[in-house]
């Protein structure tokens, strides 16, 4: 096996693109919170990047991509063969015949970091910083790493045939439902529902969205692991679904009010999430449907969340969680053999739909339940939430001693 320099060039670039998504999540979220928590929100994402970067090279990569241990954890999590990047080198590796093993590793790393960043939606404006550090390490190890193993590391979902091109299940379902669990455990922000908490900086949120869309090309088209027709296919479906999601959300929300810029960018993210698992399996025309339906579904879920008075207000659950769920099902529906050899429901392959549904719902349950338990444990021991005074003055000052 020799390295293909073109493939390597594209995955190097893709990794850089995906890396940018983690701070982009911070900017996206940061613009949505109140000004007194802006720095906090951006910092949570930035810290996620640093922390998971270290965890991943030490153990995370091995847990996700190591061989299945010959014990009861078989199919559930990898062994420690790659601990400290042992046996991960400059030559092609087990998962990458065209690119260096180290490059595959770091490409996966940036997926793990952005997932952690998305999760921070769940405790926005009320998390204790020290508790966050502990929780993040636990979560990425106990929730993310096994999920990645199931789907991409040769675990049970892969064996079962669930398709997840670029991480709809591993990244989006897991982070979205984790955010939901967290929001339930940590409780509403003081005053939520009583007075309005307007976004402090919508242009910053749009900047975050633009960088997310930009980075997503690395995320999805990079997941082809080559510079080839499949990468181009995934690139096109990604862009198309994002555009369709943006427009769908814009139009649907227009019926209930003004066509807002936040609706537009939320729709784009919804479209991007929905196409993620499907990007390399469907046609661009199907991508229009997947994206547009994704936009409409996520908008509906958002309305539902607001009606229920649920304070998961940056909507990781509505957009990433439910959008990811839709995407997983849509992959099972719209996959066509002509694109990448796999057929979905529309080509009569019921098994594919079932496999994808099973994988997705297992992830929903695992992510929700385990996150819930972890959150309760951290809450009972260190305490997840800041004091009421700290929340009142804001996390920027109370947690970081900074103002903006």
């Amino acid at each position: 096996m020799a390295i293909d320099t073109g493939a390597t060039a594209w995955i190097l670039a893709s990794t850089a693109l995906v890396m940018l998504m983690t701070p982009a999540v911070g900017f996206f979220y940061g613009g949505l919170v109140r000004r007194k928590n802006l720095i906090s929100m951006i910092t949570l994402s930035f810290v996620a990047f640093a922390l998971v970067s270290i965890q991943w090279v030490l153990v995370g990569y091995s847990l996700a991509f190591g061989n299945d241990p010959a014990n009861s954890l078989n199919g559930f999590i990898g062994n420690l063969q790659y601990m400290g990047l042992n046996n991960v080198g400059m030559d092609p590796g087990a998962y990458s015949k065209d690119i260096p093993g180290l490059l595959f590793m770091v490409f996966q790393l940036v997926f793990a970091t952005v997932t952690m960043a998305i999760v921070t939606s769940g405790f926005a404006e009320r998390i204790k910083f020290s508790a966050y550090l502990v929780f993040a390490l636990l979560w990425t190890t106990i929730v993310y790493d096994p999920l990645a193993h199931w789907v991409w590391g040769g675990g049970w979902a892969a064996q079962f045939g669930a398709l997840d091109f670029a991480g709809g299940t591993v990244v989006h379902i897991s982070s979205g439902f984790a955010a939901l669990a967290l929001a339930l455990v940590i409780g509403k922000r003081v005053g939520f529902g009583k007075y309005s908490m307007e976004p402090n900086n919508i242009p910053l949120t749009i900047l975050g969205a633009a960088l997310l869309w930009f980075g997503w090309f690395g995320f999805n088209a990079g997941s082809a692991l080559g510079a080839n027709g499949l990468a181009a296919q995934a690139f096109v479906t990604t862009n198309t679904a994002a555009a369709a999601g943006a427009i769908a959300w814009l139009l649907v929300s227009w019926m209930y009010g003004k066509p807002s810029s936040l609706g537009l960018v939320s729709g784009a993210i919804a479209g991007l999430v929905a196409i993620t698992p499907a990007a390399g399996y469907v046609t661009p025309m199907a991508a229009i449907l997947i994206g547009a339906i994704g936009g409409v579904i996520c908008y509906g879920i958002l309305l539902f969340r607001m009606k229920k008075g649920l304070d998961e207000s940056l909507d990781a659950w509505a957009i990433h969680g439910m959008g990811g769920l839709w995407g997983a099902l849509a992959t099972g529906i719209f996959a066509v053999a002509a694109v990448n050899g796999a057929s979905g429901l529309l080509e009569g392959n019921v098994h594919q739909f079932v496999a994808n549904a099973a994988g997705a719902f297992a992830a929903v349950i695992y992510a929700f339940v385990v996150t819930y338990i972890l959150a309760v444990i951290v809450d009972k021991t260190i305490g997840l939430r800041v004091t009421e005074e700290e929340e009142y003055v804001g996390l920027d000052i109370s947690q970081h001693g900074e103002r903006c």
Partner: protein, 109 residues
């Protein structure tokens, strides 16, 4: 005429505005300010030490009304702005000798 100057918590502003509207007080000028009262702000515990956060953000309303409306206005303000906690704010009443509407030149005293 009097200028009633109220410094309130930002999160109460919506209630206050509504309460005033109901009583027919429409005109007002709003400024973002920072303030602290006698309590010198909020004290946070902090790794053994303490940290005082003062100069918290507040919203200042300036409303010029006839003398006869002052009391009603003050009642409306205190009722709607009160949370019962420290930092609820202050109201000051300042004499106004004259008020002119720029558009028409109309003057009231």
């Amino acid at each position: 005429m009097k200028m009633v100057k109220a410094i309130i918590k930002p999160e109460r502003f919506e209630f206050v505005k509504k309460a005033l509207e109901e009583k027919g007080f429409n005109g007002m000028t709003i400024t973002d300010v920072k303030g602290r009262g006698e309590q010198k702000g909020i004290t946070l515990e902090y790794r053994g030490g303490q940290m005082i956060v003062d100069l918290l953000p507040k919203i200042q309303l300036e409303i010029v009304v006839r003398d006869s409306d002052v009391d009603m206005l003050i009642t409306a303000l205190t009722d709607s702005a009160r949370t019962g906690k420290i930092g609820d704010g202050k109201i000051f009443v300042i004499p106004v000798e004259k008020s002119i509407r720029i558009r028409t030149g109309e003057t009231e005293t």
